[in-house]
Symmetry: C2
Subunit: 200 residues, 2 copies
């Protein structure tokens, strides 16, 4: 299933098609596509070119590792994400390598890199669904993530599946219209809360 954004102004078709489904097909991601996803993240911009992102990945060809990563998700997300052939946890490095000072953009820049990955996924016919709902401490313990780093987000990635594979409640959400704030609500000029002329 595709669920293109209903845009008010034209945007690139990759951004229109990007969407976070819960129904994934039982189909593996080709290794060369997986490498392209990671390469896309690699070329994101970051503060001081720190590249504060890491990704812990698991695919279904290694079912034990896949289950370990799946076990870090909250139960609700496990319910649908277990259909995705690839799971991932992004991790932010909290200090700059060059001076060990706090990098206040660590999470922000993991976001930049992750969106690159997501858009590359779209370009390859894949979909990526980000999740805040995972157990940060369990991920830390499971993988031995040091306290210089912060588990950021979990992702389920794969080909789109049949909406009928979802239980009724999730299917309803899967089919519901996509919603966003109006541009006028978040684009300001001159002072906070004053809609910019271009956004009216």
């Amino acid at each position: 299933m595709e669920k293109p954004a209903e845009t008010q102004h034209p945007i690139h078709e990759l951004l229109v098609r990007r969407w976070s489904p819960r129904a994934f097909a039982d189909r593996a991601i080709e290794p060369e596509k997986l490498r392209s996803l990671l390469e896309a993240a690699r070329w994101a911009p970051s503060s001081f070119n720190e590249q504060p992102w890491s990704f812990i990945v698991a695919t279904k060809d290694d079912s034990a590792e896949y289950e370990r990563l799946l076990g870090c998700l909250v139960e609700f997300n496990q319910g649908w994400a277990k259909a995705a052939p690839m799971l991932m946890i992004s991790v932010a490095s909290l200090k700059f390598a060059h001076n060990n000072k706090d990098n206040r953009h660590a999470m922000h820049d993991v976001g930049l890199a992750s969106e690159n990955l997501v858009i590359q996924a779209t370009a390859l016919g894949l979909f990526a669904h980000g999740m805040a709902g995972f157990d940060v401490e369990k991920a830390r313990e499971t993988y031995g993530i040091p306290d210089t780093h912060l588990p950021a987000a979990a992702w389920a990635i794969g080909y789109a599946g049949d909406t009928d594979s979802l239980d009724p409640q999730l299917r309803e959400r899967e089919l519901a219209p996509r919603e966003r704030k109006q541009i006028a609500e978040f684009v300001f000029s001159g002072k906070w809360g004053k809609t910019a002329a271009v956004a009216r």
Copy 2:
């Protein structure tokens, strides 16, 4: 000038071409393109669809407002960013609207939205250069940004300019090769620091 990424695995050409220049042309961004940039940000994913992003924008057609935003940047960035026809400060909303609890993904999700905007810029022949180097407190005071929100990053956006417009030191950086970590350095499986097979 273009400075395509030298990738080890194929990625979409928009991600190859995305780059953060310091030389910008003296050419305004068409208002419909500006709206497309903001629309692209609008359709990013976010935790609980919170959309915790706002953008304060200034263009050169309003020189007073442009100067106010430019004045929030650190001096070094002012030196080159003043050539860009559009400046922007992204802002993260730190609490969820539905329950007023901390949104630990606020900065992360501003990153997701910002990268959408950056990629849309690339699709329109524009470039966007993100900056950590701006005065957060000055931005807060200048625009009256409430303490429920955090100024995230500054951005200079425009058409690419002539590298010769830069002073020698910046020109050298502009022409230097682009560098990134190897995928093997940041893609793990099974445990922290253990390179995933697919990334070897």
